[in-house]
């Protein structure tokens, strides 16, 4: 078939005139006659994405309606290119040969008498599948160009990413009341001290008041006993506060001083004998 294929069938004059839309720059100079220089062929092969791309090029170049492709001249043109490439022993993808076979098959089916109108459903246009593929591929070619035209990051834009300042304040661990309870629990378990350290709810309040009284004495110096009690505080609070004073005295953390009966009672932090002033 090589001899036959090398005869280019002329494209009908009325459709061949206008210059084609080109996909690759090198194609502009591609000769359409029989002699195609090997260099040009190589460029040519690189320029096309495959047989569909080549067919689209030929169709657009001939300016024929894709919906009514003249199969005979198209097939002939296609085969010219394929055969030229084969004769130059260029590495030709198998897809190109497969397409050649398909074109020849369609062309021969086109030569068969058309089935009667009634059986139209049966007799599909032999070109239908090829046209569908060509249109879908052309659509994707256009989509690829459109995608590439969308401004994108690292080409038309850069992301903004300002440095986050070094942390100035260290994040402090969080502690919950439950953490403390569990810590205490662990202590108890370890030391088996549960029996010795039973602290009731009330006792804890007493402890809080004990700290409070000590803190005040520490900051304000000696106080009168009644200064320790807030006027109008709830009775329960007065009682707890009083218990705190007693507990502090019992633990020798404060001293209660009364110079004479019914004189004001003074409260001060405990002092060692050496430090204490003589009363």
């Amino acid at each position: 078939m090589s001899g036959e294929a090398l005869i280019a069938e002329p494209v009908p004059a009325e459709t061949a005139a206008p210059p084609a839309r080109l996909y690759g720059e090198a194609l502009e100079k591609l000769p359409l006659d029989l002699y195609i220089p090997p260099d040009a062929l190589e460029v040519f092969l690189d320029a096309f994405q495959g047989p569909l791309d080549l067919l689209l090029y030929l169709i657009r170049k001939a300016n024929v309606d894709i919906l009514d492709i003249p199969m005979a001249p198209l097939t002939a043109q296609y085969l010219v290119y394929v055969e030229a490439m084969r004769s130059q022993r260029l590495e030709l993808a198998a897809e190109y040969l497969l397409m050649a076979a398909m074109l020849l098959e369609i062309k021969s089916r086109m030569l068969l008498p058309r089935p009667p109108r009634e059986a139209a459903d049966e007799g599909e246009d032999p070109r239908a599948e090829l046209v569908r593929r060509l249109i879908e591929y052309e659509q994707m070619k256009a989509a690829a160009l459109a995608l590439d035209a969308i401004p994108r990051i690292q080409r038309e834009h850069e992301w903004v990413g300002v440095q986050v300042a070094e942390r100035l304040v260290e994040i402090q661990p969080n502690v919950s009341a439950t953490d403390l309870q569990l810590a205490w629990l662990a202590l108890m378990r370890r030391a088996d001290m549960t029996r010795h350290h039973k602290v009731t709810r009330e006792a804890l309040s007493v402890r809080e008041f004990m700290s409070g009284i000590l803190r005040r004495l520490h900051e304000e110096g000696d106080l009168r006993f009644d200064q320790l009690f807030e006027v109008g505080a709830p009775a329960a609070q007065m009682v707890v506060n009083f218990l705190a004073v007693l507990e502090l005295a019992r633990e020798n953390l404060i001293e209660l001083l009364q110079l004479e009966a019914f004189a004001p009672i003074y409260v001060r932090t405990a002092r060692t004998a050496a430090v204490a002033e003589p009363v």
Binding site: Y23, Q49, L52, A93, E136, A143, R152, G161, N174
Partner: protein, 190 residues
């Protein structure tokens, strides 16, 4: 919680806007309004955040930075008109993709999810593994599953990052496919 400095009960809109701007400028990724709300201790209204983002976008109009809404949220990027300046600092030119890569990307974008076989059917040629790798490497496509046919080929789809990088919110914002009606005309004509 407790160790943070005390804050006013409810930050003023201008303070919220100031924080939004700083967070968006400093973020390495786009931020959704949901994420942006997490900046604040108080539960701020989605509508408020949204309004302030629109304000920010307008505040920045005409400058060298723009606030854009992309698929994964809001992000600042440089405007296209300052790019020629920024390009002078670059040692390498931005990647230019071959037609094979771009066509493969287009088929995945418009026809997803697709297998390599589907892509080859449309393009009419074999798709080299390098093309798929290049697109995966850019983070623009990934495999989202397998088609349950012999060989279980991977199904590819575009990623959120693809949309983000192209400044799109959804696939619906892709340029519409051209000439689809031609196929229909052909079918109708017969």
């Amino acid at each position: 919680m407790s160790e943070l400095p005390e804050q006013p009960q409810s930050p003023s809109p201008s303070e919220v806007k100031r924080v939004l701007e700083a967070a968006l400028l400093a973020s390495q990724d786009a931020m959704s309004t949901g994420e942006l709300r997490k900046l604040f201790e108080q539960e701020l209204d989605h509508a408020l955040i949204r309004r302030l983002l629109d304000e920010l976008r307008e505040d920045w109009a005409g400058r060298g930075i723009e606030l854009v809404q992309v698929s994964s949220g809001w992000r600042f990027r440089t405007t296209a008109d300052v790019q020629p300046y920024l390009d002078r600092l670059k040692n390498e030119k931005p990647a230019k993709y071959s037609r094979a890569v771009l066509e493969t990307l287009a088929i995945i974008a418009y026809r997803q999810p697709v297998t390599r076989g589907d892509i080859e059917d449309i393009r009419g040629v074999a798709v080299s593994p390098g093309i798929i790798k290049a697109l995966e490497g850019r983070g623009w496509i990934d495999s989202v599953g397998y088609r349950e046919v012999p060989g279980r080929p991977a199904l590819y789809a575009t990623t959120r990052r693809f949309l983000d990088d192209l400044g799109l919110r959804t696939l619906a914002e892709l340029p519409p496919l051209a000439e689809l009606q031609k196929v229909m005309e052909f079918n109708d004509a017969r």
